[in-house]
């Protein structure tokens, strides 16, 4: 049985509005909302706040960093690699149409943080109960 590829190639760009010769990316909300890459978000943070995103600054905004969305704020703040599973990066973004969601897809049930990371596991689609 042959199966189609389950991947889709996309561009890594998004249009920005130009006001004459002036372009301020941070004022392009649609564009800012599409930036997903952690390194790109760190640079974007600096553009918006004119400071580097160090721990002290990030702690000032525990939930949502002004100018960024919740998931972008979370992404800047959170180490990508799981502290309890070396080499694993179980947290990521799931795309729903034009919106994104940050989810954990870890399957290490013996981890002490499992219930905390995947509180809805029992009701999630495609996960064996």
């Amino acid at each position: 049985m042959t199966k189609n590829s389950n991947m889709q190639l996309t561009s890594n760009v998004y249009p920005v509005k130009v006001d004459g010769e002036r372009i301020d990316f941070t004022e392009n909300e649609d564009f800012v909302g599409r930036v997903w890459d952690k390194d790109a978000l760190m640079k974007l943070f600096t553009c918006i706040h004119h400071v580097l995103p160090d721990k002290r600054i990030l702690e000032k905004h525990p939930k949502k960093i002004p100018g960024l969305s919740e998931w972008q704020s979370w992404r800047i703040r959170t180490p990508e690699e799981c502290a309890n599973a070396s080499g694993e990066k179980p947290w990521g973004i799931v795309i729903h149409g034009a919106s994104f969601e940050l989810v954990c897809k870890c399957n290490r049930r013996d981890c002490i943080h499992f219930a905390e990371c995947r509180p809805k596991m029992e009701t999630e689609d495609g996960v064996k109960k």
Partner: protein
């Protein structure tokens, strides 16, 4: 006042037609036929010795001292080089000589007309690099290309008065190099190719088939072993091929044709008679293949039945074959099948009509960029006029990488834009970038005179030398007729 010219630049033959008001002039080569796309170049000097009919008529003698170049059209846009004597000949320079030959045909008539500009008909899917090379070759021959038109669309123009009442028409264009099928819709004054299919089964394939048969008869007559057809010298192969081509033409109207060669290598003088019956029997498999190609175009590509086709227009020299007409009649299709008597001139004449009053190309598809969030940003919309298409947009990178990637897709919905894209990928463009947050990537798209979609992109933080272009030559266009047709 100068005439308006149309050129059908073919693989084996080229035709030029001039139009002035209601007068049409077919610039034949003195035999009533189009001009053979043939150039003989001296092996000693590397200079042109003969072109067109003269080269064709004296192939045997010329072959002793010359390289005879045919089918240069097939190599246009490639790196092919013929090193002959002290000269290096490119496909472009060979084509220039053929076009100069056409130009001479026009001036030799003495009517005062000068072939200095023309619309040129090109095959469906003629690659961008081939179009550019053809434009340059024409310029070198002193001909300015006013525009390109696809060969089937040109054939529809030529026969417009006979076909305009049908909403859907098929064009069967069987030339020397290829067989091209196009299914064309006609809505008011707008013509659109809705499906095309091409087969390398040109008239030269039929000539070779006949030559191989003739060679086999020669071997049998001699009652001895001899080299196979491919083992014969180039001169003798060409000679037998040209005799077979003449026999093929003869059998369009006659029941018998002679194949005579004075010196066919070690076989000496050979004489064969080919009957129409034998000819039809030999060619039947190829005729069936040609009809299968037509069925592929109508039924599989256009997804239509033959009942939905109003008319089939048969053009190109090979569509005159008697066996073809009989085989098509047997199919029992209800559509009208038209075999115009001078079909080898129809494509050039259609191009000449366009030359006299150019209409407007309109995009028949929407093309856009599949963005990072899987939506589509349209760059050209269905219904947009090609001559007005110019689009500039600025993009930003959503990841920290050293290149900006653009994925170009065809939008099925028509208008394009906004919706999630599950559309067909047409191409890619990746331009260097620094990966800064505030790094504008400027994109510019337009349709050039060769009907190529050119999309250039560059990071504004990078020098001009980093600008890159994606060229797409398969944009589907419909054609809005000029008012007077």
């Amino acid at each position: 006042m100068n005439e308006f010219f149309g050129i059908d630049f073919g693989t084996t033959n080229s035709a030029v037609v001039g139009r002035l008001r209601q007068n049409t002039t077919q610039y034949d080569d003195g035999t009533g036929q189009p001009f053979p796309s043939l150039v003989a170049i001296s092996r000693d000097t590397g200079k042109v010795q003969a072109i067109g009919r003269e080269a064709w008529n004296h192939r045997l003698e010329l072959a002793e001292s010359c390289e005879i170049l045919s089918s240069a059209k097939m190599y246009l846009g490639t790196d092919k080089v013929w090193r002959i004597g002290p000269e290096a000949w490119t496909p472009e320079s060979v084509v220039t000589e053929v076009l100069k030959g056409l130009r001479s045909r026009v001036s030799e008539r003495g009517s005062g007309a000068v072939l200095d500009s023309a619309v040129i008909a090109i095959p469906v899917g003629f690659a961008p690099e081939k179009r550019r090379a053809l434009r340059k070759a024409a310029r070198d021959a002193g001909i300015d290309i006013k525009g390109f038109v696809s060969e089937p669309t040109a054939a529809v123009f030529r026969n417009f008065e006979k076909v305009y009442q049908w909403p859907t028409v098929a064009v069967f264009d069987w030339g020397g190099g290829t067989l091209d099928i196009s299914v064309v819709s006609i809505r008011g004054d707008v013509i659109e190719e809705i499906a095309t299919v091409s087969n390398q089964l040109g008239g030269d394939v039929l000539d070779r088939m006949l030559a191989e048969w003739a060679h086999m008869q020669i071997l049998r007559k001699g009652s001895r072993n001899g080299p196979p057809f491919d083992g014969m010298g180039t001169i003798y192969r060409d000679l037998l091929l040209s005799q077979c081509e003449m026999a093929k033409r003869t059998l369009v109207n006659e029941d018998l044709a002679e194949i005579s060669v004075l010196r066919y290598g070690e076989f000496g003088t050979v004489n064969l008679v080919l009957t129409e019956e034998k000819f039809s029997e030999l060619l039947r498999p190829k005729i069936n293949e040609a009809i299968a190609t037509l069925e592929e175009g109508v039924q599989n590509r256009a997804r239509l039945s033959f009942d939905q086709i109003g008319c089939i227009v048969m053009v190109g020299g090979s569509s005159k074959l008697r066996g073809l007409r009989a085989s098509m009649d047997k199919k029992g299709w209800s559509c009208d099948i038209q075999f115009p008597p001078d079909s080898e001139w129809h494509v050039a004449d259609g191009a000449a009509i366009l030359s006299s009053s150019f209409g407007e190309y309109i995009s028949a598809q929407s093309i856009g960029i599949r963005l990072c969030d899987n939506t589509v940003y349209p760059i050209i919309k269905k219904g947009e006029k090609a001559s007005f298409h110019s689009h500039v947009a600025t993009f930003g990178l959503v990841e920290d990488v050293d290149n900006a990637r653009f994925v170009f897709v065809e939008c099925k919905d028509g208008a394009g834009g906004g919706q999630t894209s599950m559309d067909k990928i047409l191409g890619y463009l990746s331009v260097p970038a620094y990966g800064f947050s505030n790094e504008p990537i400027r994109l510019n798209s337009q349709i050039d005179d060769d009907l190529l979609l050119q999309v250039t992109a560059r990071s504004q933080n990078k020098a001009k030398m980093h600008e890159l272009t994606w060229t797409y030559g398969d944009v589907r266009f419909s054609y809005q007729l000029p008012k007077r047709i």
